[in-house]
C-alpha cells in the first residue's frame, strides 16, 4: 500500500505501514517532550524556605495573652527569654472567633496566663499557632501579669513586601510574591496581622508587624499594598522578639526590588535621633 493509498479509519483495525511508522515517531517525540518538559519545569523553581506548618500535630503552649494590637501569647522559653507567639484561627482568619468563649467566660483576659493548643507555624525565629477550636483556649490564672513596656526605636524607611505571616512563616510555599498575593489579601482581610518582610543585601530578613499611627490594626487600609514591593516609613517599636512599625499608608511608595532596610543614608533630617540599623545592630 503506497503512502497515498493509506487511509485511516478509526473503527477499522487496519493501519498502513507508513502511518504506523509516523505515529510511532510522534509518540516517541511526545514522550521526549514529556521528559524534557517535566525536567525543565520542575528544575526551574526557586528554592523553597525550610519553614514548617505542623498540620497534623497539635502542641500546647502557655503564656501571657496580650493584644499589641494583634492577639499574641508571650511564652517563657528559658529564664527571662520570651517569645511572642501570634495567635491565629483556622483558614484565613484571625484568632478572635476562637477567643470569644473564653472572653465571655472570664471577662477581660488581657495580661492573663492562657493555655492554647494548636498547630505551630515557625520559620526564621518567628512562631505562630493556629487554633482550631474555642475549647483549645483555657485560662490558667486570673492574675494580671504586667508586660514589659514597648520600646520606641526610632523613625526609618524600609523596603520590603507586606505578607500575611501565616502563609509566609509556614503554611504556603511560596508565601509571598505575585503568585501568593491574592491569598495574602484574603488572609489579611480575614484579620491575620499584616507584616512587612524585609531582606537586606546579605539575605538577612527582619519582620515588622504593621499598625496605623495610633498602634491599631491596619488590615483594611493595607490591602491594596499586599504582595507588592514597597518603601514604607514609620515609627519602629520593639516588643521583645517582634518589631512594630507604625505607618500611614499614604506614605507608601512602590518599588521594583525587595530589598533591605532603608536605602543607604535614608535617615532624613527629620528622622529620630536613633537610627534603626544602629539600634538593630545593638539589639542583636
Amino acid at each position: 500500500m503506497s503512502k497515498k493509498d493509506e487511509f485511516y479509519v478509526g473503527y477499522l483495525d487496519e493501519v498502513g505501514t507508513s502511518t504506523r511508522k509516523r505515529l510511532k515517531r510522534f509518540v516517541v517525540a511526545v514522550l521526549l517532550l514529556v521528559l524534557v518538559g517535566a525536567g525543565i519545569f520542575a528544575f526551574s523553581q526557586r528554592p523553597f524556605k525550610n519553614s514548617t506548618f505542623e498540620l497534623t500535630q497539635e502542641t500546647e503552649i502557655e503564656g501571657i495573652y496580650h493584644e499589641s494590637p494583634y492577639p499574641m501569647l508571650k511564652v517563657n522559653l528559658v529564664d527571662k527569654q520570651f517569645k511572642n507567639v501570634i495567635l491565629l484561627g483556622f483558614g484565613k482568619s484571625n484568632a478572635d472567633p476562637y477567643l470569644q468563649d473564653i472572653k465571655a467566660m472570664a471577662g477581660d483576659i488581657m495580661n492573663k496566663k492562657l493555655k492554647v493548643k494548636g498547630n505551630l507555624i515557625y520559620y526564621n525565629g518567628k512562631t505562630l499557632i493556629q487554633i482550631l477550636k474555642p475549647e483549645n483556649v483555657t485560662i490558667v490564672s486570673d492574675d494580671v501579669i504586667p508586660l514589659l513596656p514597648v520600646k520606641t526605636v526610632g523613625v526609618d524607611i524600609f523596603e520590603g513586601e507586606v505578607i500575611d505571616p501565616k502563609c509566609y512563616f509556614g503554611v504556603m510555599k511560596p508565601g509571598q510574591g505575585k503568585i501568593h498575593r491574592s491569598c495574602a489579601v484574603r488572609c489579611i482581610s480575614g484579620g491575620i496581622p499584616p507584616v512587612l518582610a524585609t531582606t537586606d543585601d546579605n539575605a538577612i530578613s527582619e519582620y515588622f508587624l504593621l499598625t496605623d499611627l495610633e498602634g491599631k490594626p491596619i488590615n483594611e487600609a493595607i490591602l491594596p499594598f499586599v504582595g507588592k514591593n514597597l518603601r514604607v516609613n514609620g515609627v519602629v517599636e520593639k516588643m521583645e522578639d517582634w518589631y512594630l512599625l507604625k505607618i500611614d499608608t499614604k506614605g507608601i511608595v512602590y518599588t521594583h526590588k525587595t530589598n533591605v532596610y532603608a536605602a543607604n543614608n535614608s535617615c532624613q533630617s527629620d528622622c529620630a535621633s536613633l537610627h534603626f540599623r544602629e539600634a538593630f545592630a545593638r539589639s542583636h
Binding site: 509516523r22 517535566a38 519545569f41 520542575a42 491574592s182 484574603r186 480575614g190 507588592k228
Partner: protein, 346 residues
C-alpha cells in the same frame, strides 16, 4: 457514526490512544515530582500538585493544538485527530486539578466566596505588572470545562455542528488566556529562561503550523472557472481526479467535493455532518464516501448515510463535455438522488 449514544464507543485504536495518554501523564507527574523532591525538597504537597498539573496541562494543550494542522499537512497523522477529544478531556482534568487546588489554596477558607475572591482580591486590572493573572486562568478553565462537557457526540448533534464547532474554536481564546496567565503569573515571580523559552518555542510551533496549513488549504481548494451558458461551471479534467478520491472546488462560496469511483463521477458538499470534516479528503470505501476524520460515511449519488444511519448532505449535478467536468452550482436538497455521470472513456 452511531444510532444511540454510549459514553465511549470503544475500539482497538481508542484503547491504544488512551493508554498512551495515561502513560504520558503519569510519566510527566512522576518525573516532575521526582525532580522537585530531589532538587527542591522543601516544597509543599499543595505546591507540588498545583505546579505539576498546571505545567502538564500546558504541554498537553500544545500537543492538542498541533494535531489539527499536522493531520491536514500529512494524512498519516490522521489517527491522532480521531481520538483527540479524549486528549482534550484529559487535559481539562489536569487543568482542573491545577485550578481546583489553586482556588482552594489561595481563595478558600476566607471572608468571601472563593470565586468572588478570584476576581476581587487583586484589582490591578489596569497594570500589566500587577495584573490579576488568576482571572485569566479561571476564564480559560471555564472554556476548557465547556469544551470537555460538550465533547460527546450527543452535544454535537443537539447543539448543531456549527454551534459546537464555534464553541470548540474557543480553544484558541483559552490558549491565549493560558499563555498570558503563565507569563503574567508564574513567570513573573520565578523567571527562568528555560521555561520561558520552552513556552515561546511551543507558541511558535503552534502558530507556524497553523499558518502553513492555512496557506496549503487555500492553495488546495481550486477556484472554479468562468461561468458558462445555462449556469454550469467548468471545474477540471476527469484525469485530474484519482480513482476513489476527490477534488475540492469552491462553488458559490461553498466547498464541493467531486468523487470518481467505478467509472462514475458524483459531487457532494464537502462538509461532514459530524464535525465538519473535509469529505473531499476522504476515500470511497465499500462504495461510500468515508470522512477522513472519524469515518462517517455517505453514498456518493445522494449524500445520504447508508441505512440505518440518517445523516444527509447536499448533492450537486455534474455534466461531462469531452473530458471536461462541469458542475451546476445550485446545491440540491440534502439527500437528493442525482444520477452519477459515467466517465468510462478515462
Amino acid at each position: 457514526m452511531g444510532l444511540d449514544y454510549q459514553w465511549v464507543l470503544w475500539n482497538k485504536h481508542k484503547k491504544t490512544y488512551d493508554k498512551v495518554i495515561v502513560f504520558s501523564m503519569l510519566l510527566y507527574i512522576l518525573v516532575f515530582v521526582g525532580v522537585t523532591l530531589v532538587f527542591k525538597p522543601e516544597t509543599s504537597i499543595e505546591t507540588l500538585v498545583i505546579r505539576a498539573f498546571g505545567s502538564l496541562a500546558i504541554i498537553m494543550l500544545h500537543v492538542i493544538l498541533i494535531i489539527g494542522p499536522l493531520s491536514r499537512l500529512d494524512s498519516r497523522f490522521m489517527p491522532l485527530l480521531y481520538n483527540r477529544r479524549h486528549l482534550g478531556v484529559s487535559m481539562f482534568i489536569a487543568a482542573f486539578i491545577h485550578g481546583g487546588f489553586s482556588l482552594f489554596q489561595f481563595h478558600a477558607l476566607g471572608d468571601v466566596n472563593p470565586v468572588y475572591s478570584v476576581f476581587t482580591s487583586n484589582m490591578d486590572y489596569n497594570s500589566l505588572t500587577n495584573f490579576p493573572f488568576q482571572v485569566l486562568g479561571f476564564l480559560a478553565l471555564l472554556i476548557f470545562f465547556a469544551m470537555a462537557a460538550t465533547s460527546h457526540d450527543f452535544y454535537l448533534k443537539n447543539l448543531s455542528t456549527k454551534t459546537w464547532k464555534r464553541l470548540h474554536m474557543l480553544v484558541y481564546l483559552a490558549y491565549a488566556l493560558v499563555i498570558m496567565h503563565v507569563f503574567l503569573g508564574a513567570f513573573q515571580q520565578d523567571s527562568y529562561v528555560a521555561t520561558a523559552l520552552l513556552l515561546a518555542v511551543g507558541f511558535l510551533v503552534v502558530a507556524l503550523l497553523h499558518i502553513v496549513t492555512g496557506i496549503k488549504e487555500v492553495r488546495k481548494t481550486k477556484a472554479t472557472k468562468a461561468l458558462l451558458e445555462d449556469g454550469w461551471l467548468q471545474v477540471c479534467q476527469v484525469s485530474e481526479i484519482e480513482e476513489d478520491r476527490a477534488k475540492i472546488f469552491t462553488v458559490e462560496k461553498e466547498r464541493v467535493a467531486i468523487f470518481k469511483y467505478n467509472g462514475k463521477l458524483s459531487a457532494i458538499h464537502n462538509v461532514c455532518k459530524h464535525q465538519g470534516g473535509p469529505l473531499g479528503e476522504g476515500k470511497i470505501i465499500d462504495g461510500c464516501i468515508t470522512c477522513p476524520w472519524h469515518g462517517y460515511q455517505y453514498l456518493p449519488h445522494n449524500g445520504q448515510s447508508p441505512p440505518p444511519f440518517t445523516e444527509k448532505i447536499a448533492a450537486y449535478r455534474l455534466k461531462l463535455v469531452g473530458s471536461q467536468v462541469y458542475i451546476n452550482p445550485v446545491a440540491l436538497a440534502e439527500g437528493t438522488e442525482v444520477t452519477p455521470i459515467p466517465c468510462n472513456h478515462e
